[in-house]
């Protein structure tokens, strides 16, 4: 009896160790399998739909007091776009810079910084959450994206707003590393979704995306596109860059970054 128990125990031990080892190597194999990644990606789809259901009433992200602002707001990703065109714009305080709004709109338009500053503005002190895990609190002032969209008129066919940026995070020669982001109209018309030209009461500095950056509160940091040059309204994302709706999305991150 004892012998049988011992062998059983031994078997369980060997089995457990074997199962553990198999599990680990198996998980790495599953992590490299596109079809399995697609399968577990349904978890993210579920998260997106669950959050959209809960956010149906368009609640605001928490806004903080001025005393809550981070002493130093970390600049992540690009801190200075490496392009002569950008430097030329920056030299004159972006006075020659124009934001182009085009695509599926009633009237494509261009706005200079002064035009944007003359529009209704919103100031919000919000928390910026990086996908890596850290957070910083900053104050943002800018034009509600909804105002710009109403000004140009959104075509009924439009589903997404794409933000084209000046920074080439991969320093690519062909522009394939140019930063871009996209959101859908649900987030685009949220009152806290603004194109910010000021941060903590001062003009937006270059490390934080001058002259204009997107604030789409309720989503993670990589959605907050900096150095925005162009806003495009589109009906699909699969024909832009690698087709997943953003620079980091094309590199494996989720398009919906609410979690």
């Amino acid at each position: 009896m004892t012998g049988r128990l011992l062998s059983r125990r031994g078997l369980i031990g060997v089995g457990a160790a074997g199962a553990g080892g198999l599990l680990l190597s198996g998980c790495d194999r599953l992590s490299a399998s596109p079809s399995f990644q697609k399968f577990i990606g349904h978890g993210e789809d579920l998260t997106f739909h669950a959050q959209r259901l809960l956010l149906a009433g368009q609640p605001l992200a928490r806004e903080f007091k001025a005393s809550d602002i981070s002493p130093i707001f970390k600049s992540n990703g690009t801190s200075h776009p490496e392009s002569d065109d950008y430097d030329a714009l920056a030299k004159d305080g972006f006075s020659d810079w124009k934001l182009a709004v085009e695509g599926l709109v009633g009237r494509p338009m261009q706005f200079g910084l002064a035009d944007l500053k003359a529009m209704p503005s919103r100031t919000q002190i919000t928390r910026h959450d990086c996908v890596e895990g850290w957070s910083a609190i900053g104050g943002w002032t800018g034009v509600p994206l909804a105002h710009i969209l109403r000004t140009v008129g959104v075509s009924p066919k439009a589903r997404f707003v794409v933000f084209r940026c000046a920074d080439d995070l991969e320093a690519s020669l062909d522009g394939s590393g140019l930063y871009y982001e996209s959101i859908d109209l649900f987030d685009a018309f949220h009152p806290q979704t603004i194109l910010a030209y000021a941060m903590n009461g001062a003009p937006l500095a270059i490390p934080h995306g001058a002259p204009l950056r997107l604030r789409v509160e309720r989503q993670l940091g990589y959605k907050q596109a900096k150095y925005v040059m162009k806003v495009q309204l589109v009906d699909r994302l699969d024909n832009i860059a690698s087709g997943r709706g953003g620079y980091w999305e094309d590199r494996g991150y989720e398009w919906y970054a609410g979690i």
Binding site: G43, L54, A61, P71, A136, R251, I259
Partner: protein
């Protein structure tokens, strides 16, 4: 279905042995949800550690980033001689942890600056996007599995009957005796072996109703989308970075629970315990020494 720890003895299979009795200890729901949890929590932990490696520093409060003061961090430093040194900084002290925390070997055997080692993470290489996809997929499984377990446990009376503390459980004398029983590894026999003891109950209550729900709640507090839905979570945990710290601490407490749990299983008789969680049948001794 409602028969569990306190069930009448089953007819013994094969030859009945004197002084022993086979009871039906765990319902099929408990057994299935238990093993799903074993798999899911293990993988949640490992994918969570991969996510932690993206920023192996933890803070208290609403915000916290590179320029703010962490209460714990596991950085890799380059010493003057060029060698990499992994350290753990905690409570103003610094411990050298090269090979484990801060700096450890990657898949190719070379030293890497990483908070926790590759063997503990899912995937083993540094990949935040894939780790997040695993983590959130598993989190849904964990929540669904936990919801089934809680719902059935409430409906069939499992919690009330087997896990809730009774007046007799919480008598100081009983608690002291139980602590001594655990210290001297004295395992219960007879009717007592058919019930969870007070320390078991208290532990299970904390894990089921505090630690595991806290993991879900702190996880959700880290979601900027969910914070807009339930901003009170930020008040409850004292901010997103506090929630991230509590998420980490609770994960460690769950690991501690699992270690103690497995040690107790080994001490109490691994085959009997394992069988009770696979087939439901559990053999108890009807008297000491049997």
């Amino acid at each position: 279905m409602t028969t569990e720890l306190t069930a009448p003895p089953l007819a013994p299979r094969g030859a009945a042995r004197a002084g022993r009795e086979t009871i039906y200890r765990h319902t099929v729901v408990v057994r299935i949800t238990h093993w799903i949890n074993v798999l899911v929590i293990s993988l949640l932990l490992m994918s969570g550690l991969n996510i932690l490696n993206a920023h192996p520093r933890l803070y208290w409060g609403q915000f916290g980033a590179d320029f703010d003061k962490p209460w714990i961090e596991a950085p890799g430093l380059r010493r003057p001689d060029g060698q990499l040194e992994g350290v753990l900084r905690l409570g103003g002290r610094q411990f050298t942890t090269t090979g484990f925390l801060g700096v450890s070997k990657g898949a190719d055997g070379a030293d890497l600056i990483q908070g926790v080692p590759s063997w503990a993470t899912l995937p083993s290489e540094r990949n935040l996007a894939v780790a997040r996809r695993w983590h959130f997929f598993l989190a849904w499984l964990f929540v669904i599995n936990g919801a089934v377990y809680l719902l059935i446990g409430l409906i069939n009376g499992h919690f009330r009957r087997d896990v809730a503390l009774t007046r007799a459980d919480v008598r100081p004398g009983n608690i002291c005796r139980n602590i001594l029983d655990h210290i001297f590894l004295r395992h219960p026999v007879g009717e007592e072996a058919k019930r969870y003891n007070v320390l078991q109950k208290a532990t299970y209550l904390i894990v089921i109703f505090a630690l595991l729900p806290a993991m879900v709640a702190t996880g959700l507090t880290m979601s900027p989308g969910f914070d807009a839905v339930a901003p009170w979570l930020l008040n409850l945990f004292g901010g997103r970075q506090s929630a991230r710290s509590i998420h980490f601490i609770c994960a460690n407490l769950i690991v501690l629970f699992v270690i103690v749990h497995v040690v107790e299983v080994l001490l109490a008789g691994v085959w009997n315990e394992l069988r009770s969680m696979i087939t439901g049948r559990y053999v108890i001794k009807t008297e000491r020494g049997a």
